[in-house]
């Protein structure tokens, strides 16, 4: 069976002035459809870089990266943007909602890139907000929501276009324990009930417990594999 995400010999070198820093070193990784993968490791280990490359917001210096059988490491900026819109839902540590837009409008954002009508966009955003338990907060702006609620709006935004992958960068890093557990429970539900493939970067071992599989990165190399 072919993996949903296939990473072969991926390296990433950043240039900081005259200095070259290798963040990832020949990483090979397969992620199956429906997987819930937690990427752990110390700061600077390259986990966020790997996540960003899987999400198509960064490109490898070397190696290949395919998602659902399509190479994304060699796409142009425009093609990559189009690919992200169709295949990736990104959940940030600090939610990154647009402060002037209501929860509804924030969730509708990815749908602006589709051919859906305004009414369809509104309806789909409503369904996504209902799924994350915020049907009664559609008109609230981010500043009027708690951190946990904002992250749930961000999750609704990530799933509203029904992407192939959900990538989460420290999704609970800015939340208290209770909110974090609610968010992680929601992610787990999306994975188990709706079959969403998830890749999550976290420092938190408790968060990693929600994943089906945990990988550790150290100095740009995968060092350990554990299954939940």
């Amino acid at each position: 069976m072919t993996a949903l995400v296939e990473i072969r010999g991926v390296s990433k070198v950043y240039e900081r002035g005259a200095q070259k820093v290798e963040v990832l070193h020949h990483v090979d990784l397969d992620i199956e459809e429906g997987d819930f993968l937690a990427l752990m490791g110390p700061s600077g280990s390259g986990k966020t870089t790997l996540l960003n490359m899987i999400a198509g917001i960064d490109t490898p210096t070397d190696g290949t990266l395919s998602v659902a059988g399509r190479r994304i490491d060699n796409l142009s900026a425009t093609a990559l943007a189009r690919w992200r819109a169709a295949h990736v839902g990104y959940i940030f540590q600090f939610y990154n909602l647009l402060p002037m837009l209501s929860a509804q409008k924030n969730v509708e954002l990815p749908l602006l890139l589709t051919r859906l009508s305004a009414a369809q966009r509104r309806r789909n955003a409503g369904i996504a907000l209902q799924l994350v338990g915020l049907a009664d907060r559609v008109s609230h702006k981010p500043g009027e929501l708690s951190g946990g609620q904002q992250q749930r709006v961000a999750i609704a935004r990530a799933i509203v276009a029904d992407p192939t992958l959900l990538v989460c960068d420290e999704p609970t890093g800015d939340l208290d324990r209770q909110s974090a557990e609610e968010v992680l429970g929601l992610l787990q539900k999306l994975n188990r009930q709706y079959g969403k493939t998830m890749i999550m970067v976290t420092h938190d071992p408790k968060a990693a417990e929600y994943a089906k599989r945990v990988l550790h990165l150290d100095k740009g190399t995968l060092v350990e594999t554990a299954s939940a």
Partner: protein
């Protein structure tokens, strides 16, 4: 269009900043509307069609006098009903800051050709028979508290008397008003006898500043103007016959090249506007770098982000610019009314069109640098705050 809420959200992110920027754009375009109306008025070709009163002045300069001898030649032309003449006096009442227009006129023919100057018959008769008599408009009389019987001393700035004195004293014998509100500007003037002026002045006898020609058929005004100018062509005193409005504008043009002055002011205003809004847009872009990076992460292409940022800038200019032009359109009739019709400046379709082009041009000019940077923004660097 579906990005409009996003564009609006970008603008409303810092409401005070957007409002202040909008106000500066409104002010700039209101000024543009007013100044362009002035420029259009000064540059508009004269059209005398349908006018029953023409002004005949020197072709070379309105300060160049015409010989009195032209009076009969004009009066005898077929189609001429009446001819009056006038000479700018430029006297000062007490202090130079008390400026008002004062002129020596051919009393009877002047009143005959200016039926809009309304005053009691007794005052009119008194004016015609009093050699040192003068009439003033109601507004001017109110301004200085003058009443019939007052002696009004004017200090000459151009024409001293034969005895070397600069002090001319006139007897106020009439106060006129105008029936139409749009002519209220005429009430800020003073007229006195040309005969008295011409006899007493030290130089320039036998000349007049300009002729006022009342014609029988306004439909032939154009032809009449050409006939008059043709009459004096190739003489030492060639004439230029035009409408009163154009004549007034020519008077104002003595200050200098009004078009150039207006263009220079507008250039300075828009240069400042570009710097001001450019700085604001750049600041707005810096504040929103993480948001733009998030939008790109969601799948907005570089081109879409460029268009959104650019549209914000153009939208500010369009809203503010339209507001400014509407303000100018509202102010111009107020100025016209306040000046009694003397500054009845038109706001043409050309001004609206030019304004629209300037809004788009400035919007693109100030929006392009931040839009370009937004387009080139690297998501990973922007999210990391680099």
């Amino acid at each position: 269009m579906k990005y409009f809420p996003l564009i609006l959200a970008g603008l409303l992110r810092k409401k005070t900043r957007t409002l202040l920027t909008l106000l500066s754009v409104v002010a700039a375009f209101a000024l543009f509307g007013l100044l362009d109306a002035v420029r259009v008025a000064f540059n508009a070709p004269d059209n005398v069609a349908g006018i029953d009163r023409l002004i005949v002045a020197s072709r070379f300069s309105i300060i160049q006098p015409l010989p009195y001898a032209d009076y009969n030649r004009i009066r005898l032309l077929p189609g001429v009903k009446e001819v009056a003449y006038a000479n700018w006096f430029g006297g000062v009442y007490q202090d130079p800051k008390n400026f008002f227009a004062n002129m020596a006129v051919s009393a009877k023919s002047f009143l005959d050709t200016h039926p809009e100057l309304v005053m009691p018959a007794a005052q009119k008769a008194a004016f015609l028979k009093t050699r040192t008599g003068a009439i003033v408009g109601q507004t001017l009389a109110d301004r200085f508290g003058w009443k019939i019987g007052d002696k009004i001393p004017l200090k000459a700035t151009i024409f001293p008397k034969k005895d070397g004195s600069n002090l001319w004293t006139f007897d106020l014998v009439g106060i006129y008003h105008t029936a139409q509100p749009e002519l209220r500007g005429l009430e800020q003037q003073m007229f006195f006898h040309y005969d008295y002026f011409d006899e007493a002045r030290q130089f320039g006898q036998g000349t007049v500043g300009w002729y006022i020609v009342k014609i029988a058929d306004p439909a032939h005004a154009d032809q009449m103007a050409q006939t008059i100018d043709h009459l004096f062509a190739n003489s030492s005193n060639e004439t230029k016959t035009e409408s009163e409005r154009q004549f007034q504008l020519s008077f104002a043009k003595q200050i200098g090249d009004i078009g150039l002055i207006v263009s220079a002011i507008m250039g300075a205003v828009f240069f400042t506007l570009v710097l001001l809004t450019g700085n604001t847009m750049a600041q707005a872009f810096r504040d929103r770098i993480p948001e733009l990076a998030v939008m790109k992460t969601l799948g907005f292409s570089n081109g879409a982000v460029l268009r959104i940022v650019l549209a914000e800038s153009v939208l500010v200019l369009l809203i503010g610019g339209a507001g400014g032009l509407v303000a100018a359109r509202t102010i111009l009739p107020v100025i016209a009314a306040a000046s009694g019709g003397q500054f009845d400046l038109p706001m043409t379709d050309r001004t609206w069109l030019l304004g629209l082009l300037l809004m788009l041009l400035i919007g693109i000019l100030v929006g392009l640098p931040p839009a370009w940077r937004a387009m080139r923004l690297k998501i990973v660097d922007a999210l990391a705050g680099r």
